[in-house]
Amino acid sequence: MAQKRVEPGRGRKQGVVTSPKASSSNRAFYILIVVVAVVGIAALTYQSTRSKESAIASPIDSTLPPVNSAGYTIGNATAPVEVTEFGDFECPACGNFATLTEPDIRKRYVNTGKVFWRFVDFPLSGHRNTWQASRAAACADEQGKFWEFHDALYQTQDQWNGEATSNPDKYMKQLGKQLGLNTGQFDQCVDSKKMQAKIQAHYGLAVARKVGETPTFVIGDKQVPGALNYDQFAKLLDVALANAPPVAPAGGGDTAKKGVPLPATKKGP
């Protein structure tokens, strides 16, 4: 039995009672806490280092169906490298990419003729208003303003997403008007949902290609999931450019357009 030490006047009415056994038990526990903390911090450090170092791109399964002419394109169709983005207009990660990384990519790679960019809708079921946004963007494409609409949708995502409104079509129409679209034609297109089949085809292509998250990029012969920052993305593009054969890519997409700079402001209608 361990001997107890009594400190009068503290703790329990008559004082704190401690024993060498209790003290040693506390010491052992502090050691355990430190060990768990150190192991935890080491695991977190390993995770953060590993995700930066490991190759984020994986080779594409050659049996997957080709993208060919689906989606919306921007840039020089004869550029040495083609990038396909599978994106969801309501996905915050896609929004981050579109507003933080894509402007620089467009300026330095697309507008300079190095990269031909293609966007294919992959509206995820977890996002309530994303189908409406995809359909409206397709309606804007009818009038040659897909990319302006694309950029505006991402820049104002928090104003029309499922948490902001239950009537996204109203927002889409206001946005169409703000971008100078023929409102009669655009509103009729939005109301009729005539672009549904087209978006479904894009969705089907993403599923067929086993895209599991958005944004996912096909860069040359690699498939890259997640919203990368500029440096990470530029590195992948530079590798693809270095390995690119001097041939023109196939297919022009639903639309093809020369580079459009992103608007400077982030304002909704």
């Binding site: 400190e7 503290r10 703790g11 329990r12 009415k13 008559q14 704190v16 009672v17 401690t18 209790a22 038990s25 506390n26 526990f29 355990l32 806490i33 768990v36 903390a37 935890g40 911090i41 695991a43 977190l44 995770q47 953060s48 995700s51 984020i56 969801d88 996905c91 915050p92 990660a93 896609c94 981050n96 995820l124 079921s125 977890g126 996002h127 928090d158 997403n161 948490e163 599991g212 998250e213 958005t214 944004p215 996912t216 999931p225 997640g226 919203a227 990368l228 920052n229």
Partner: protein
């Protein structure tokens, strides 16, 4: 003492979980992406940020406080401190309320469940139960002392 050691250990595990999710949110672990029915949907929703900081980072603060209270409570002079056990209980109670609100958002607003968030919710509930038992223990010690 075992109660407070358990509180300290669970708080430390919760702190590490919160740190993992915070690092993910800040972009140090993995890459931000959206997918169906997984943690990413929750982590990329507008509800994942509160007053400019990721919710997970607020969680780190919560668990750090819980851990601090529990460690201080292991010291002999605070072993039966009713004040300290009440502070721990109130903090854990606040944690339960906040977690309930987060789970409501996941189930009814975001419509997706994050397994890490559910793990944290389990930690918080266990912490609350332990804090309640510890508070009752301290109260009874004080009552015994007053009676003798």
């Amino acid at each position: 003492m075992t109660l407070r050691k358990s509180i300290a250990l669970i708080s430390l595990l919760g702190l590490l979980l919160g740190a993992y999710l915070s690092l993910y949110k800040f972009g140090y672990i993995g890459t931000l992406s959206c997918s169906v029915g997984s943690c990413e949907t929750v982590q990329t929703s507008r509800w994942s940020v509160l007053f400019g900081l990721p919710v997970a980072t607020w969680g780190v603060g919560f668990y750090a406080l819980m851990l601090g209270f529990a460690i201080v409570g292991l010291e002999p002079q605070h072993e039966d401190s009713t004040r300290l056990s009440l502070a721990t209980l109130l903090l854990a109670g606040w944690g339960v309320a906040f977690t309930a609100w987060l789970n409501y958002l996941e189930g009814f607003v975001i419509h997706a469940w994050c397994e890490f968030c559910l793990g944290s919710a389990a930690f918080v509930v266990v912490l609350f139960v332990l804090a309640m038992v510890d508070y009752r223990r301290c109260r009874s010690v004080v009552a015994e002392g007053a009676a003798s």
